[in-house]
């Protein structure tokens, strides 16, 4: 095999790719801008929106409570809550967001509490609506504290200690370092994004270097040169691979920077420090390298498969119609890896795309299952080699090159 010839084709394809606006957009600009827009952009927006929602003083309608002045006084004294008197159509007012919630104190509530008779306080809200949830939380917290005080008073009256009701505590403690916690949360997304961008990075050059060449009439020109078809296909393949890996590398880089900026931004904002701890995703060199190494065989697989499929097309447009559905073939297993509870098993380690996506999740969380890494890397290499072999064979078929 002449590496010189492969290199000549590769250099020429690279020169053309760099001069092509569409390739530059799909390979460089999209991965560089996607993560900042998705994470910093939407993250900042979310922080701002939540902050604004918290700043609002919600109106809460009081229903009943005329014979329970202590509870009503307590509610009225709550910080950053405006208690409004009952008016008709309170349900519609909640739905129309004129008030955020309503609290219903039953008749004789205070007397019932004193007589130790059971009773129920109802809080009405708009489930899923952020400002309504904030208001409901405040009312609920106040009522629970009031209930706890009543219980405490009753126990004291009967000379019983607090431990009668709470004989022991149950505590939950996280022992995983923050990087692993955030890695477990974001690892799936990173695998998904790297795989998807690997695919999108390879897609345009794959179409341009095959169907595009046929359409522009340069295929016959190059086939009349003395280069062997294997060298030609390898030169083209390496360019597509470069685009796929370049896109993946830039996306990982952009992701690391975006998460750092997002973590910094949220830690600066009021009440964002706790959230920031979970958002800071540390992508150390080892993690980046391992994710990139796992992306390598899958990029080979994508490059070879996309090139083979695009080669069947006579025009760029036809190639697009073949390759666009391929995005779904890639997205489905990549999304499946993000589902809660889906973890690596020996069988799943053999399913292409899903396996790498699951492994990325582990790698970002700092967990290295070497046996799975070996299985996934080698199986993906086998799939990639098979795909590349088919691509070379297809490039030698006249019925494919000169399909009419």
């Amino acid at each position: 095999m002449s590496l010189r010839n492969v290199g000549i084709v590769y250099r020429k394809e690279l020169t053309e790719a760099i001069r092509d606006r569409r390739t530059v957009i799909s390979t460089i600009l999209v991965p560089l801008l996607l993560f900042p827009v998705l994470s910093v952009g939407f993250g900042s927006l979310a922080v701002v929106l939540v902050g604004k929602a918290k700043e609002e003083v919600p109106k809460v309608m009081l229903r009943g409570g005329e014979d329970s002045p202590v509870v009503v006084d307590g509610l009225k004294k709550l910080d950053r809550i405006e208690i409004v008197p009952e008016t008709a159509g309170w349900k519609d007012q909640i739905i129309n967001k004129e008030i955020r919630a309503a609290v219903e104190i039953p008749r004789g509530f205070q007397a019932d509490v004193a007589l130790e008779k059971p009773d129920t306080v109802n809080i009405y809200n708009y489930e899923g609506e952020l400002k309504s949830e904030f208001a409901t939380d405040k009312i609920e917290k106040y009522m629970k504290e009031y209930r706890d005080r009543v219980v405490k008073d009753r126990l004291a009256a009967k000379n019983l200690p607090d431990t009668v009701l709470k004989p022991f505590e149950v505590k939950r403690e996280n022992v995983a370092p923050p990087e692993k916690v955030s890695g477990a949360a974001f690892g799936g997304i990173i695998g998904y994004m790297v795989i998807l961008l690997c695919m999108t990075g390879a897609m345009y050059p794959a179409m341009d270097l095959t169907a595009g060449e046929k359409e522009r009439g340069t295929m016959e020109t190059i086939l009349s040169s003395p280069i062997s078809r294997m060298h030609l296909v390898l030169g083209k393949f390496f360019l597509i691979l470069t685009a796929a890996l370049g896109t993946a590398a830039l996306s990982v880089l952009s992701m690391g920077v975006s998460f750092s900026v997002l973590g910094h931004y949220t830690s600066q904002s009021a009440g964002g420090r706790e959230a920031a701890a979970g958002m800071i995703l540390k992508l150390g060199p080892a993690t980046v390298l391992s994710v990139f190494l796992m992306a390598l065989p899958i990029a080979v697989l994508f490059s070879a498969v996309l090139m083979t499929i695009a080669l069947f097309a006579k025009t760029y447009k036809e190639a697009q119609s073949y390759l666009t559905p391929m995005t779904f073939v890639v997205i489905i297993p990549a999304i499946a890896a993000m589902l809660p509870g889906v973890e690596l098993t020996p069988k799943l380690a053999l399913i292409p795309i899903l396996n790498v996506s699951l492994l990325c999740k582990e790698l970002v969380a700092g967990t290295y299952h070497w046996n799975y890494i070996a299985i996934i890397f080698s199986s993906t290499c086998v799939y990639a080699a098979a795909a590349l072999f088919i691509a070379i064979k297809m490039f030698q078929r006249e019925s494919v090159l000169f399909r009419s």
């Binding site: 053309e16 092509d20 009439g217 020109t221 009349s224 040169s225 003395p226 006249e398």
Partner: protein, 251 residues
Amino acid sequence: MIEARGLSKRFQDKKRGEIRAVDNVGFTCQPGKIYGLLGANGAGKTTTLRMLATILEPTDGTAIICGHDVVDDPEKVRANVGFLSTATALYRRLTSQEFVEYFGRLNGLDEATLKKRVDDIFNRLDMNGFRDRRCDKLSTGMMQKTSIARTLVHDPPVMIFDEPTNGLDIMTARTITGFIRECRNNGKTVIFSTHIMSEVEKLCDTIGIIQSGKLLVEGSLPQLRDKYGEQDLEEIFVKVVTPHFVAEENN
């Protein structure tokens, strides 16, 4: 030299079944001579020339070009051939010089030789004014010159032209026909296909008339005139192909 021996090419068509695009074609082209393959559209000219250029592989038969077999040694054949057709387009995002250099490198030229040859060709074809211009910014004439430079960069002894003037304006077509004549004068073996009678009359030493994939008749223009008792090549062509054309239509 080109020696075609029983060249045949069959294609499978889903609707029409097996198609014999070229059927047992044999001829010889000598160095310093131009062989013209004359035929109507779909006669089998392009397929024949594509087989000679090893872009397509013959189903049966073979051709020997400069001592290399098109079936057994296609890469060596291509190294000895310059192939030009209106279908051989340029890489739009390369400059004219980059395009020619690319093919020079693929033909195994070292950098020093390549530079000398590119300079020679660009001077000879008066291409220095646009050597750094991207191919998508070239005029049709400039594109044709760049294509010619591409076929010449490795100085091949055999030149194959497939309807090289098809769709070109008169001035650009004259550049091409001039170049074909120059190739003959430089001792190259030249074969070219066309359906333009005047080009054949002006250029060809030997004429082969092809129809339905079969080489029907072969000879110099005087020989053909004697044989068919006609002076006009178009009349000779019509006399030769009509029986086959009618038979084909009936089929």
